[in-house]
């Protein structure tokens, strides 16, 4: 049931445990226990809400920053990554294969805030070789959800 449970709540973390129990043919207690285990094991790492900020009045952007670093002896990239991800304004930090090392994203900040973060914080860290900042102009799909998708049932109302 674990996988089926995860794939259900990955799409909608707000289904209540009673419904989950019915849908998966388990008792509600089983579901509650399993969720607890998944949280303890850090398989479930959080419950977030997907927001289309563009539709709000806030004038903010999302930036993807490519970072090249020199890895440190004995610690590889982990230490520099933690220096970066501890900034609260950083949303994601990924170690990446290919032309650069770390991909850092900052979400929903003003241009000024992003510029300040890159020039004053990020690029001044030891072992940062270079950064390249990209701004997201439009989100078509985010976390598996097509933004602004109009879902309409096109089927005939009654079919055999």
């Amino acid at each position: 049931m674990r996988e089926e449970l995860l794939s259900l709540i990955e799409k909608n973390s707000r289904i209540d445990t009673k419904d989950l129990a019915v849908m998966l043919g388990k008792s509600e207690l089983d579901i509650i226990n399993e969720l607890q285990k998944l949280e303890d094991e850090k398989i479930i790492c959080g419950y977030h809400t997907l927001i289309n900020w563009e539709k709000t009045s806030l004038d903010k952007v999302t930036a993807l920053i490519e970072v090249k670093v020199t890895p440190q002896r004995g610690q590889g990239f982990d230490r520099i990554a933690s220096r970066i991800f501890n900034y609260p304004e950083v949303r994601d930090v990924y170690l990446i294969s290919g032309g650069f090392d770390l991909l850092v994203t900052l979400e929903e900040k003003s241009l000024k805030e992003i510029a300040r973060f890159v020039s004053e914080k990020l690029s001044t860290l030891d072992s940062i070789l270079s950064t390249a900042t990209h701004f997201i102009l439009k989100k078509y799909k985010d976390h598996g959800t097509i933004i602004d998708e109009q879902i309409k049932d096109e089927r005939e109302i009654i079919t055999p």
Partner: protein, 388 residues
């Protein structure tokens, strides 16, 4: 004056579904549980393959029986799921939906006076297609106390010396009933003993929720007397592509192909290319949809149990078939009243044969959220009825 119309066609009753459709269409804000097709879009990789075929200019007729590669993939699929080996050259035909396969099978096999046994409640097309082919339909009324399975006794009673073909419609639309291996063995024995052929409509074969579907063609001695009908509509959510297939003894397939060749020419080319992709890489899509259907199925069964509605547990297709006899109305009265009072459309069970009277078909090819709203309205409705 000459008779303008075919008496045979005029004599066929219009579908009960059509009648109800006209009522529902008047109602703009109704939510429907009346749909007999998946709510999922066809998986993108399958659609993409159709688009690619168009881009590449694959816009011509295919061979009458269908693309050879597709027939090969169909045979591979049946072999891996049922361990039955069909020859792609002589034992398979690609059709315009399972619908065409059903029609072709009757037309290729029936001589006037032949009897075709049709268990009901079942899909609406068997009886009219059988009649159009000149057959005499013999109806078996399946019973809720047998979980709407076909029992050996029922079958034996329906057999006469003129019986040629048995329609075996499982997993069943509208009841959701399935036939398991043990059930099929008993049916197979009777068919062999009485030299009866089987038209096995296994279009919902991928949608079972209690072990894997077993095809009657996989039972010893049955491959030679089974015409297996299947298609892409339900398993791959491809209803609009209009694609299905039939597998069976080569003498029958050859005659079916002859009719198909003159009446249809070939199944849609774009769809055939997409279907190759479906069979090659679509197993995960099926799994995802089957899981979702199963969740909704459990949700509905649970809701009906909570309401103390008499409803046997279906293990196939995407329908539940609750009994509404306690309310003292016909299925049509119930469905019409439910629609006008609560704005929810369900299909009256009698649309699938007389033995569907007293039941309604509820489709769960809808999101759980819609089902939830619909079940709340169902509850309101029956509470009012019970208190009145």
């Amino acid at each position: 004056m000459k008779n303008l119309l075919s008496e045979k066609v005029v004599g066929i009753k219009p579908s009960g579904i059509r009648k109800f459709f006209d009522i529902v269409s008047e109602m703009k804000d109704a939510i429907s549980l009346g749909v007999g097709e998946p709510d999922f879009d066809t998986a993108w990789h399958i659609r993409d393959e159709g688009i690619y075929a168009l881009e590449k200019g694959k816009t011509f007729y295919t061979s009458n029986a269908g693309l050879k590669e597709l027939r090969q993939e169909i045979c591979n699929y049946i072999n891996r799921t049922q361990e039955v080996a069909y020859d792609p050259i002589s034992e398979v035909i690609v059709t315009v939906g399972g619908s065409e396969g059903i029609d072709l099978c009757f037309r290729a096999m029936i001589n006037s006076g032949d009897e075709v046994i049709i268990p009901q409640p079942s899909y609406v097309s068997y009886e009219p297609c059988a009649i159009l082919s000149g057959a005499t339909p013999v109806i078996i009324n399946l019973k809720p106390e047998n979980s709407f399975k076909l029992t050996p006794e029922e079958l034996k009673k329906a057999i006469t010396k003129n019986t040629k073909l048995l329609v075996l419609p499982f997993p069943n639309n509208p009841t959701g009933a399935i036939m398991e291996k043990e059930d099929l063995k008993e049916i197979a024995d009777i068919c062999i003993e009485n030299d009866i052929y089987v038209l096995a409509d296994e279009i919902y074969g991928e949608l079972t929720y209690k072990g894997k579907h077993v095809s009657i063609a996989s039972i010893d001695g049955m491959k030679d007397r089974t015409i297996l009908i299947n298609g892409f509509s339900k398993a791959y959510a491809m209803t609009g592509w209009r694609l299905g297939y039939a597998c069976g003894p080569k003498d029958i397939i050859r005659q079916m192909t002859k009719i198909h060749q003159f009446a249809i020419m070939c199944a849609p080319t774009t769809s055939q290319y997409a279907a190759i992709e479906a069979l090659k890489n679509g197993d995960d899509d099926i799994k995802m949809m089957r899981e979702a259907y199963n969740q909704r199925r459990r949700f509905l069964i649970n809701a009906f149990n909570d309401m103390h509605i008499d409803c046997f547990e279906p293990f196939g297709a995407f329908y539940v078939f609750p009994c509404i006899k306690e309310f003292g109305m016909t299925s049509e009265e119930f469905a019409t009243k439910f629609l006008t009072e609560e704005r929810v459309a369900v299909v009256p069970g009698n649309a699938f044969g007389e033995s569907g009277e007293g039941f309604v078909r509820i489709s769960y090819a809808y999101s759980v959220d819609s089902l939830k709203i619909a079940m709340e309205r169902f509850k309101n409705f029956i509470t009012k009825l019970r208190n009145s």
